[in-house]
Amino acid sequence: MEDSIKSEVNRREVYRYLGLGRHEPDERTALLVEESLVELENAAAPRFFSRSYPLSVLPDGKLDLTCFRVESRDLSRNLKDCEEVILFAATLGTGPDLLVRRYSRLEMSRAVVVQAAAAAMIEAWCDRKNGELKEEALRQGKYLRPRFSPGYGDFSLDCQKDIIRALEAEKTVGVTLTDSLLMTPSKSVTAVIGAGRNEFRCELKGCEVCGKTDCLYRRG
């Protein structure tokens, strides 16, 4: 069994998703968040899978990730000097979706809190797995770049298809795509992580690496 993820969930992120910005939550909201995290931990079935691929840059500037090719300025910048990429898929399973569905019908205030807490929980799960990959890479003398997901900057959402296919995500983690490229279960993440021999200092991830500065949910 994996250790509890609940304790690793960044509460500030939950509050941010709930629209609190930098405000402190009132006591009841804070309590609702904690209750939701307990419930989510019981309902979630976290899964994770990754595979690494050689990376090269083609003459036309496209990135060749071996299992697919892509043109993206932002991703190229992220993967600069990398010789390898790790494709990454993580999910909390279908349980959190059921809770959101249940409370959307019966208790909307709880539904939004569960939804926000689940969003922060999948991040925490990704961070944990990302950390493990980082340590493993270090042992081989490699340094990892911040993870980068389709939809960040100009990294096309279409690449979801390639990543899902390369990772056989349906079998390995149970993640599938809808026609409009939404992942099911909804609390799932795919990403690309570059690995290179050069030390990488910048530890930015998530919002900060994204060029879409007008995004409503951008970390403030």
Binding site: M1, L18, G19, L20, G21, H23, P25, D26, E27, R28, T29, L31, L32, E35, A45, R47, R51, S52, Y53, P54, T66, C67, F68, G93, T94, G95, D97, L98, V100, R101, R102, S104, R105, L106, E107, M108, S109, R110, A111, V112, V113, Q115, G151, L157, A166, E170, K171, T172, G174, T176, T178, D179, S180, L181, L182, T184, P185, S186, L216, Y217
Partner: protein, 829 residues
């Protein structure tokens, strides 16, 4: 010899991996493996031949991903061409070898079913049917449904396979390292579902290597009555230079599989990464082994998509509250199509300790089959408890059992020939456990002898359909003791004899015993204990009744069913604490009802006192202020109570206008000003709704109704399945007494337009979360402009901005839920 006969004689072998070998032969990443049936038939035939030569008995056609989503009239090859070519290749290999069975291989569709995803259950059935039909026409010996991670999709595939042919059906599912399917199912839940549906062999494949499958194989042996299949991967995958490699070679595979075969596995083979080399070893292993078919298991099991409930010596509580009989509010909810009311009854019984929920929605003036199917679908979307489908309408039975995600409990059949003729075929087809009432054409026998005779008759008749005793629960029926003094004794004797003499299982609707008597709970709870003592396996009761739950918990402790009295202590530890503190307040026997309770997430909140200076209207008296503050603070119970008190002296409309509306406005303004946040806004809305419900009831008493301001359609657009934002908007608009028609998520433009025209609505609200679904929003707006030009359109969602909203033609962009309320107030005065 037909495969099922040969299976009885010897251990049969499947082949190994297909995809991994095709990749070695040059299949490129992204290339669809099934196209090789046509582009490289020689390689596919050789692959089959190599496996047959290695000793396998059953080859899987190269059709794992063959379905209409990948192959259709718009693709290079049609589905029929692909499946036919795959069958030809398999037949060619079998002909060359002079032996071998062909399994038409059916994998998952790659799409998740509703409500988790977008694929409709019946569409999934038809997708699978299409493949199965071609395979059967082309002479497959059996249908193998494999790598299924969702029980609902699995059920769709099995129904499809069964409905198009009488070929044997084998089914294997995929587990993660924790032994769970994606949707939470275990070997036991999969087995119950599959055996119920009449599958000939069950098991698992893919996902894990043979070492990890060992404990799961033991589970399969423990629960399965039909032969068990184990098709593991060659260990766990790892990537090496961009290639996927598996870490178990033939030697290790043989070692691990030897132990698994010794457990009593009847069919073995391989999945990803396994090769003819692996299968050759399996062939060597089975050479010295006799086939050991599993024993028929006698346990009675029903399931949901994830949970299995065994109805045996440890009694099972079936919540009775989803039933309109004698409940005017429930009847009204059915007439109003108020599903929330019904769902709430379900979840609150779950929180109070029900193991199964009875679902009865029969009312003369409603379309029961449709309502039953809808309620089943909705309930199984929000609860993991198995459901009992309670109806005498056979069409409702059939439709509900079909859409049910699991092995259902059906209530009921009885000893009347006509009823048995109608119900047993359905029970067989959908694999249910059925409740059998001990009554027949001559009514309910007065004696236990008479009821036993009917039970015997029912067992006999069921056996003709292949329905065993374990799938029948005998209901000995309770006659009220107020009219039949021996009523209880007759029932108890019947229960005891069904258990002891017939080896059957029993169920009772307990409450009827006290009909016509005062303080019925006294009689019910004591009768319940007696029934449990006489061997009752399942009781249909109200889990909200403390006395009944007390009987249940006490009986389990007394009957040595509760290890160290753990559950009893858990249920009553708070009661002990509070009585020690001398509070004298009775504590609930189970966890209390959390839904709608002010203590949910609200423990930190003190009840609002009057005169704390926060009231925003000096004209309020004490109780008015209390109500307003309860709404503002989101205290539901408090708000309902205050409303009730106020209504004793004030007119409902006064309460709404002088108290409720100002309180809601106050919270709304706070939200806009950034001093109140979304969770608080919604808690307020819920408290207001609790108060409005009380007001509504009061108005209904005097024939009034709260005036609705106008109809608003809400929908999440086609392709989008994230609808939480839209749901928030609905809750708020309803509180402002708009009549909201919520069309749900993933709604096609034509449906939105149709409803907008039909209802002539002044306002439509659309939501979209993804850039990929905004085009669907744009299309919806364009069509609304053409066909419903009077309608105003507001839009919202994470990717939208005011400018973006303008370019796709919306009237306004709403940045949050209150903004939609403000806009609605502007449009609909």
């Amino acid at each position: 010899m037909a495969i099922l006969e040969e299976l009885r004689e010897k251990i049969l072998l499947f082949d190994g991996g297909t995809g991994s070998l095709l990749q070695e032969a040059g299949l490129k990443p992204g290339e669809l493996p099934e196209t090789w049936n046509i582009s490289h038939p020689d390689i596919v035939v050789k692959l089959h031949s190599d496996y047959l030569e290695a000793g396998c008995d059953i080859i899987k056609t190269n059709t794992f991903g063959a379905n209409r989503f990948k192959y259709n009239s718009g693709t290079q090859y049609s589905l029929k061409e692909i499946v036919t070519a795959a069958m030809d290749n398999a037949k060619c290999a079998v002909k060359k070898a002079g032996r071998g069975y062909i399994a038409l291989d059916i994998g998952p569709t790659g799409k998740l079913l509703k409500p988790m995803g977008q694929l409709d259950f019946e569409e999934a059935v038809s997708v699978f049917r299409e493949v199965a039909e071609t395979g059967a026409e082309q002479g497959a010996d059996l249908i193998l449904i494999e790598t299924m991670s969702d029980t609902y999709e699995l059920k769709a595939a099995v129904l499809a396979a069964k409905e198009i042919s009488s070929l044997p059906v084998f089914a294997t599912v995929i587990f993660d390292e924790k032994g769970k399917m994606l949707t939470g199912g275990t070997p036991q839940t999969a087995i119950a579902l599959l055996e119920g549906l009449g599958v000939d062999a069950v098991g698992m494949n893919c996902g894990l290597g043979p070492v990890q499958m060992k404990p799961l194989a033991a589970e399969f042996i423990k629960y399965a009555s039909v032969p068990v299949i184990v098709n593991p991967n060659a260990g766990l995958p790892r990537s090496e230079g961009g290639r996927t490699v598996y870490d178990i070679g033939p030697d290790e595979f043989e070692q691990a599989m030897e132990e698994i075969l010794d457990m009593g596995i009847s069919v073995a083979g391989g999945c990803c990464g396994t090769t003819p080399g692996h299968i050759r070893r399996l062939n060597r292993l089975r050479a010295g082994r006799r086939q050991k078919l599993p024993q028929e298991k006698q346990s009675t099991v029903i399931t949901s998509y994830a949970a299995a409930v065994e109805i045996g010596d440890d009694p099972v509580i079936i919540g009775e509250r989803i039933n309109p009989t004698g409940k005017s509010k429930f009847k009204q909810a059915l007439r109003d199509h108020d599903l929330e009311f019904i769902l709430r009854e379900g979840i609150s019984q779950q929180e109070r300790g029900a193991h199964v929920l009875d679902v009865n929605v029969g009312l003369p003036e409603i379309d029961e089959p449709s309502m039953m199917a809808e309620v089943i679908r909705e309930l199984q979307g929000i609860t993991e408890l198995p459901l009992q489908i309670d109806t005498s309408n056979t069409e409702a039975m059939a439709r509900a059992m079909r859409v049910y995600n699991g092995k259902p409990l059906l209530n009921s059949v009885n000893g009347k020939q006509e009823v048995m003729d109608a119900v047993f075929p359905l029970v067989k087809r959908y694999g249910a456990v059925v409740v059998a009432l001990t009554l027949d054409e001559s009514g309910i026998p007065e004696t236990a002898d008479g009821r036993i005779a009917i039970a015997e008759k029912i067992y006999r008749e069921a056996a003709k359909y292949g329905i065993g005793k374990k799938d029948i629960l005998i209901d000995a029926l309770c006659m009220t003791i107020s009219s039949d003094r021996l009523g209880a004794l007759t029932t108890l004797e019947t229960v005891k004899r069904v258990r002891q003499e017939m080896g059957g299982r029993t169920i009772l609707g307990v409450s009827n015993i006290s009909f016509g008597l005062p303080v019925r709970e006294n009689i019910n709870a004591n009768f319940f204990t007696l029934a449990l003592y006489n061997g009752l396996n399942a009781a249909i009761i109200n889990p909200g009744s403390e006395a009944m739950m007390c009987s249940y918990h006490s009986f389990r402790a007394l009957a040595a069913l509760d290890e160290n009295c753990g559950s009893y202590i858990e249920a009553y530890k708070n009661a002990a604490a509070s009585s020690a503190a001398g509070s004298g307040s009775p504590a609930p026997g189970t966890s209390g009802n959390r839904l709608g309770s002010d203590t949910a997430g609200r423990k930190a909140e003190a009840a609002p006192g009057s005169g704390n200076g926060r009231g925003n209207n000096p004209a309020w008296d004490g109780e008015e202020e209390r109500l307003a503050l309860s709404v503002e603070k989101g205290l539901r119970e408090q708000a309902a109570q205050s409303a009730k008190q106020l209504l004793a002296e004030k007119e409902p409309l006064d309460v709404i206008n002088t108290c409720m509306i100002p309180a809601l406005d106050h919270v709304g303004k706070g939200f806009e000003a950034g001093t109140v946040f979304l969770p608080q806004l919604l808690m307020s809305a819920e408290a207001a709704k609790a108060a409005f419900d009380v007001i509504k009831e009061k108005m209904a008493e005097s024939g009034q109704a709260r005036e609705k301001k106008g109809k608003i359609i809400l929908a999440t657009v086609k392709g989008d399945i994230h609808d939480i934002g839209k749901n928030i908007v609905r809750v708020l608009l309803e509180n402002y007494s708009y009549d909201v028609l919520d069309l749900g998520k993933d709604v096609a433009p034509e449906q939105i337009v149709r409803e907008a025209v039909k209802q002539h609505v002044p306002l439509v609200g659309l939501s979209a979360l993804m850039t990929t679904t905004v085009p669907a929003m744009k299309e919806t707006i364009q069509r609304l402009r053409q066909e419903a030009p009077w309608t105003k359109i507001m839009v919202g969602g994470a990717v939208l901005t005011p400018e973006y909203a303008k370019t796709i033609g919306a009237d306004t962009y709403c940045s949050d839920a209150m903004a939609s309320v403000s806009y609605a107030q502007k449009i609909i005065a």
